[in-house]
């Protein structure tokens, strides 16, 4: 008798907990989804008394959109490449030979979080707009600086991803095994370390892509015609297109995150599995 009462009490308490979990989930989902749904709904109202994709059509038809979009994509890819080339060998070497330096490297990679974008861009302009380091004289040279800044902005994400990836495998043993089999550093990096960091590299790269693709402050101050300034300009002159643009940017980001999940699936076991 006592046992059955206790069991009923446990079941009721579990049901209550489950209910609360659902309430929290629904409230959280509404908090995120409502503004998104409202933006999407607004983007569909470009034509009078009719819902449709007119705003999207106009957006893609705008002669300034695709150049800005492609420029942002190229900038993002260049920043990713630069960031990976700097971070992967550094993180690998720190893990293998200089583990005591990890906190220092970690702190340096966190600096973009600490320095506001406005401060960063004014610092850059002051430094690179006069001799001997006159790098903002032309549009293209400014673009190179912008890519370097984007690479620096990605450090916190890329370093953490790569560092986690390296910690998930026995870097030292793999390196030594490859060395004993006759491999040089290049072979070890490109045939052993990089392939086993695939998920980590992709996570870092796609997070960088998500940040860079719509970045406004730095691009605006450096007078670059990328997607961020384009969007800002759009909000000043158009009604429905900025919402359409926001949805497109959002979709791109989610596609990037979806790709991380897709590539990550299946490879996890190869690295952490075993007996």
């Amino acid at each position: 008798m006592t046992t059955s009462v206790a069991s009923v009490q446990v079941k009721t308490s579990a049901r209550k907990q489950k209910l609360w979990a659902w309430v929290v989930f629904v409230v959280g989902a509404l908090y995120f989804l409502l503004p998104l749904a409202a933006t999407f709904y607004w983007s569909l109202r470009a034509e009078k008394d009719k819902l449709g994709f007119e705003a999207y059509r106009r957006l893609f038809a705008d002669v300034n959109f695709l150049p800005a979009f492609s420029e942002s994509i190229v900038n993002a890819l260049a920043a990713i490449l630069l960031s990976l080339l700097l971070i992967v060998p550094t993180a690998y070497w720190v893990t293998l030979r200089l583990p005591k330096l990890r906190p220092v490297v970690e702190f340096i990679t966190l600096l973009p979080f600490v320095i506001p974008a406005v401060v960063l861009v004014f610092g850059l302009i002051r430094l690179y707009s006069r001799p001997p380091l006159l790098l903002t004289a032309t549009y293209d040279s400014s673009r190179v600086v912008l890519i370097c800044v984007y690479a620096a902005l990605s450090f916190p994400y890329v370093f953490r991803s790569v560092d986690n990836g390296l910690r998930a495998m026995d870097v030292r043993a793999l390196t030594e095994a490859a060395q004993s089999l006759g491999a040089n550093w290049f072979t070890i990096l490109f045939r052993v370390i990089f392939p086993n960091l695939r998920v980590a590299l992709l996570s870092g790269a796609l997070l960088t892509f998500a940040i860079v693709i719509g970045e406004l402050t730095i691009a605006l101050f450096m007078a670059q015609h990328t997607l961020g300034p384009y969007m800002a300009n759009l909000t000043r002159s158009k009604v429905y297109e900025p919402s359409a643009m926001a949805i497109v940017a959002f979709a791109l980001t989610w596609m990037a995150l979806g790709l991380i999940q897709l590539v990550g699936r299946g490879q996890q076991g190869q690295i952490t599995g075993g007996h």
């Binding site: 095994a177 004993s180 040089n184 052993v192 695939r198 076991g269 690295i271």
Partner: protein, 356 residues
């Protein structure tokens, strides 16, 4: 001339010596084990042979060539790690082929060598699997095949069996030894497991606190330990302080009980204090057989250890253990009973001067 020579090798980390004045000559095809507790320098020595650590002093010569300053990838040493260290992104075939591809071998040769190695370690059914799809024992066999595929000058094994369960460990060590003999390859095996070292090696190097305590065959190491550490680390051992009564006759006295020893007593004189050692299995009951030493004892306790029965006895005031085989008709004395135990003169070892 020996195949692998380590001359006066030392390794210092800061002020601490990890290895001190290590000297060893290994013949081609020999299987040598480095045995010792954690921190004794055995792995550091192996890593110096592999080239992952540079000796602070000394030289390493392989087949007449000084390799002390050669990079690890120039030494042609096959290494097997405790953690297997298989490349997770590669299949069994790709792992075994890695070292061959690095050497730019032709595709046909790589294929043939991989097939040969896979068959050597009996992994024909698993060639397309990834490491995470294999058991620990299978992974270590892949690591062995990968290391052997490059036909290394020396095979280095860094506690390769430690991560495996007991049964696999025993069968894999037999397989490693069999393959090593079959290929006639020189091997250095690091372990802290005395049974492993005794069962697999041609010679054992016992190390303690960075120093070589004794080098010898498993038989010598077990039966004729030269230092107190070797005697106590390898196998079970009874030790006690004793006084030299007659060095010429090999007569000693411990707690008023006299023992004869066959050990050399060079340099010892009457009255000197020494530490004696007797392995538990060297005692037997005097009622069964009589040897040079017959001493009175009191039975303190009896413990069953499966195939062996351990009898705890008191000789004088010193506690000893005695091992006897367990068989159904075994008649054991009662606890507290007075008995006589016997051992040969050869069973009584002298481990040097008694401290204190």
């Amino acid at each position: 001339m020996a195949y692998l020579i380590l001359s006066n090798i030392s390794k210092q980390f800061g002020d601490t010596y990890a290895v001190r004045d290590f000297n060893l000559e290994v013949q081609k095809g020999e299987f040598v084990s480095f045995l010792g507790p954690s921190g004794c320098g055995k792995t550091t020595t192996l890593r110096m042979v592999a080239g992952f650590e540079s000796p602070t002093n000394g030289t390493i010569t392989l087949d007449g060539v000084d390799i002390t300053d050669k990079a690890p990838n120039q030494r042609n040493m096959g290494m097997i790690f405790q953690s297997y260290a298989l490349f997770p992104n590669m299949t069994v075939t790709q792992n075994i082929a890695f070292g061959l591809r690095v050497r730019n071998m032709s595709k046909a040769d790589v294929k043939e060598r991989v097939r040969e190695m896979v068959s050597l370690v009996n992994l024909e059914k698993h060639v397309d699997k990834y490491p995470f799809q294999l058991s620990g024992g299978q992974q270590q066999r892949v690591a062995l095949a990968r290391a052997l595929a490059i036909r290394p000058g020396v095979l280095l094994l860094d506690e390769p069996l430690s991560a495996l369960d007991a049964k696999i460990r025993v069968s894999l060590r037999a397989q490693i030894r069999e393959i090593q003999k079959k290929l006639g390859i020189t091997a250095i095996f690091v372990t802290h497991d005395q049974e492993e070292a005794l069962s697999i090696s041609d010679r054992i190097v016992v190390m303690y606190e960075g120093n070589v305590e004794q080098v010898g065959t498993p038989f010598d190491i077990y039966n004729f330990p030269k230092t107190h550490f070797v005697a106590t680390f390898v196998g079970s051992l009874n030790t006690a302080a004793a006084e030299v009564l007659d060095p010429a006759k090999g007569l000693l006295r411990m707690d008023g009980v006299q023992f004869f020893t066959a050990a050399k007593m060079d340099g010892l004189t009457k009255g000197d204090k020494v530490r004696i050692a007797i392995r538990p299995e060297r005692f037997s009951f005097a009622s069964e057989v009589k040897k040079a030493n017959i001493v009175d004892c009191v039975i303190e306790n009896i413990t069953f250890l499966g195939s062996v029965v351990r009898v705890h006895i008191l000789i004088g005031n010193s506690k000893f253990t005695m091992d006897t085989f367990n068989y159904p008709s075994l008649e054991l004395p009662k606890i507290g009973a007075r008995e006589q135990v016997t051992c040969s003169k050869e069973a009584v070892l002298i481990l040097g001067a008694a401290e204190g």
